[in-house]
């Protein structure tokens, strides 16, 4: 008496497989999230991304207003336009979130990241590393006879490029802060 025309045993009709294929142009957005500096607020933000399956490319957080008890979380995320809109709306729902700014769409902004690079080598390699560091305006913040630690600031792309160049020259360790970003011009 089965009135269904669905193939028996088929699982291709799961209730949860309902999403249409959205436009799949994935965009990269930098979000500035001003939050109450409360315990757990970072866990809420990260939990939101994990729980709903959103991407985090980079995340930085620090208190920016001690008196006002505010921290600023800068998140670089990727997703289709619909997902990006959802991410912002979902962030806005968190009670401890005061403001969400999408720096990617709200006009020009500057993005900077700081990287520390430990490069070990001797002779020609060492000279070459130092020469490239100079071109990239990286500072030497530690040196031994066999190694340097370079400090470099710039856009994530610049730091990526520096990493690519250092790799064959004895790159041993990298530490990066993640992106900090501000809109250009007066508020």
């Amino acid at each position: 008496m089965s009135p269904l025309k669905i193939k028996k045993g088929s699982t291709g009709h799961s209730a949860y497989d309902l999403r249409p294929s959205y436009s799949d142009t994935v965009e990269r957005h930098t979000l500035a999230v001003l939050v109450e500096n409360e315990p757990g607020v970072l866990a809420r933000v990260i939990g939101l991304f994990a729980g709903r399956g959103y991407n985090i490319e980079s995340l930085t957080v620090a208190e920016v207003d001690h008196q006002g008890h505010r921290s600023r979380i800068t998140i670089v995320t990727t997703g289709t336009p619909q997902i990006i809109i959802q991410i912002k709306a979902q962030l806005g729902r968190i009670i401890d979130v005061h403001k969400v700014n999408d720096l990617t769409v709200e006009g020009p902004s500057v993005e900077r990241e700081l990287g520390l690079f430990k490069v070990a080598g001797k002779g020609e390699q060492r000279v070459e590393a130092l020469r490239l560091a100079d071109i990239f305006r990286a500072n030497v913040v530690d040196s031994t006879l066999e190694s340097f630690v370079f400090e470099i600031t710039g856009t994530p792309e610049k730091i990526d490029a520096f990493a690519d160049l250092m790799r064959p020259l004895g790159l041993q360790e990298v530490a990066r802060t993640g992106v900090a970003a501000l809109s250009r011009g007066a508020v």
């Binding site: 009135p3 025309k5 028996k8 088929s10 249409p20 709306a89 729902r93 009670i95």
Partner: protein, 583 residues
């Protein structure tokens, strides 16, 4: 004029100041100071449940049936983890509840102390907001803020975790009016967009109101305005499971519930409309079916208090962020001021089409022979209780869908069901919460035998507090909804979907001192229901029904609305009515 008191006393004081009348809870080591304070006062009643999950569902039932927040109090560790299902349920259905949990003393947090659990960590994703209060000075303010957050914007559950030393320590009590909060969600909708919607309403040929739980949550004014709007425009209206009662089932424009087990006319109208006005619903997958085939030719308005609901699943042509009552008031005013216009010719044709769909009579069934059909049981329950001041709860399964189909709801806050989470075991404790709020009303929980067993221990609570809740079990000796899916989608392989070793429900009731009624004969059903209704105390009604009845109509998962199955109900008539879309 500051008042100094212990943290435990603050908890009770804040509850009193917030107008709380009843707390559902279960004591344990980490909340003893609060229980001690509850003992020494008589403004707040405490209902001792038999399991913390039930405390939270009871608080939900209380909240859904009153519009006021429900409160639950549980101990640390297992008390808190037992509350998780209720919290998630309340989050999914936007129910304002406040859950207070005890916690090990602050100096022991993180040491894996006895009955320590990371309660705020565990409940972060299943609360609207939660707090661990480490300082008695901040406790009262946090409690007041918790009520504010639970109730404002899109309502939801909040949790406050209170370490035992914070309960013992003394601090200054902060009054509610002294508390500042930055959380004040926008309630007024954008007038320009509301005007655009009013214009679209003037010309629409095939409009429909699609309403949801947001109308109920917005308060009685929202339901009132909705009724006015429907009457004034003459548009048809359907509702989600969560929104039943906002518009009366006896109303002329009522199409019945929509969605996976919604009515044929409601789903067909949703599919074919040219203007869909979503009021406080969220395009849930049980409603939309296959998204890319969902109401393909309509412009869609979406009124919602939660920005993240708008454009989440379905693109809104008229997105309106705001509280339903506020937006409906403006919408009515704008539409009236513009001359109360509708496309009368289009509407007349639209209603003509709807009448054809209605003629399919998709809920038709025939009661024959000696076995009670579940639909018949509900039809009789409806007939015999309609005139009562009646509140209906349900568990989850086929019986829940049949209850939504065959019972009529005339007012908001009369229908308590677990929609978003679909929590078996919700209905019985919810009915206890409802009965606490409405001691003289008729409170019925339409249950499946399997769901009901999930929180059956609450029979003790019902007896202790003399709560005359009626447990109306449609006993098909099956996990009926699971069995239905297995029949339709898994080659009739009934893997673990029958209820074996069921208790004798009459004896079970009697073991608790309650009344049990068994009915298996359609001819004695009315008398048995009347016996249930006239009995003064809790009743466990074991209604043995047809074991293999399927719940129709049904939109199979992943199918569009117009590929709805009517099962054996009215297939023949449907084809006569020109519904070539039917199976």
């Amino acid at each position: 004029m500051s008042k100094t008191m212990t943290g435990a006393r603050m908890v009770v004081q804040a509850l009193i100041d917030q107008g709380v009348e009843v707390v559902f809870g279960y004591p344990g080591g980490a909340v003893l100071p609060i229980y001690d304070e509850l003992f020494q006062q008589n403004q707040i009643k405490h209902v001792l449940v038999r399991h913390e999950q039930a405390a939270v569902h009871a608080a939900e039932g209380y909240a859904r049936s009153t519009g006021k927040p429900g409160v639950a109090l549980v101990t640390s560790g297992p008390g808190a983890t037992n509350a998780v299902t209720g919290l998630t349920d309340a989050l999914m259905d936007s129910i304002p509840i406040i859950v207070l949990t005890g916690q090990v003393p602050t100096f022991m947090i993180g040491s894996d102390a006895f009955q320590e659990a990371d309660t705020v960590g565990i409940t972060r994703p299943c609360t609207k907001h939660n707090w661990l209060v480490k300082d008695t000075e901040k406790l009262a303010a946090t409690l007041h803020e918790a009520f504010h957050i639970a109730l404002s914007g899109r309502p939801g559950p909040v949790l406050i975790d209170i370490p035992k030393d914070v309960q013992f320590a003394t601090g200054t009590y902060t009054e509610a009016r002294q508390v500042e909060t930055h959380y004040n969600p926008q309630v007024k909708g954008d007038l320009a967009m509301i005007t655009e919607l009013a214009k679209a309403m003037e010309t629409a040929k095939r409009p429909i109101f699609y309403t949801g739980g947001g109308v109920i949550n917005s308060g009685p004014a929202a339901s009132q305005l909705l009724r006015e709007l429907v009457a004034a425009t003459g548009f048809p209206i359907t509702s989600t499971l969560m929104g039943l009662g906002a518009y009366p089932a006896s109303g002329d424009n009522w199409l019945g519930m929509l969605g996976m087990h919604g009515l044929y006319e409601a789903n067909m109208a949703m599919h074919d409309c040219d203007l869909m006005i979503n009021i406080g619903a969220r395009f849930d997958d049980r409603i939309t079916g296959r998204i890319d085939a969902f109401s393909p030719r309509s412009k869609k308005a979406h009124i919602d208090i939660d920005a993240s609901s708008i454009n989440k699943v379905v693109h809104a042509d008229f997105p309106i962020l705001g509280d339903v009552a506020h937006v409906l008031e403006d919408l009515l005013n704008v539409w009236k001021a513009r001359g109360r216009k509708t496309n009368t010719e289009g509407l007349a044709k639209w209603w003509g089409q709807i009448k054809e769909w209605r003629a399919v009579d998709c809920l038709k069934f025939t009661q024959q022979g000696k076995v009670i059909k579940p639909q018949y049981a509900l039809q009789r329950l409806e007939a015999l209780t309609k005139k009562h001041d009646r509140y209906i709860c349900t568990e989850v399964g086929q019986h829940q869908m049949w209850a939504a189909q065959y019972l009529g709801f005339e007012d908001p806050n009369r229908w308590m069901t677990s929609g978003g989470l679909g929590t078996m075991g919700y209905g019985f404790p919810a009915s206890i919460g409802v009965q606490m709020a409405h001691p003289d009303a008729l409170v019925i929980n339409v249950a499946g035998e399997a769901s009901w067993l999930m929180n059956m221990q609450e029979l003790g609570t019902a007896m202790q507090y003399r709560l005359p809740v009626k447990q109306f079990i449609l006993n098909n000796e099956r996990l009926g909804m699971v069995r239905q899916w297995q029949e339709l989608l898994h080659g009739e392989r009934y893997s673990s979907s029958w209820s074996e070793s069921l208790p004798d429900f009459v004896k079970l009731a009697e073991a608790f001192g309650a009344k049990g009624i068994l009915c298996s004969d359609p001819d004695t059903l009315d008398d048995a229901i009347m016996e249930m209704l006239t009995h003064k105390g809790p009743v466990l009604f074991d209604c043995l029904v047809e074991k293999h009845e399927n719940c129709f109509p049904m939109i199979p998962s992943g199918k569009p609305h117009n590929e709805m199955l009517l099962g054996d109900a009215s297939t023949k008539d449907a084809i006569q009515a020109g519904g070539a879309v039917l199976v």
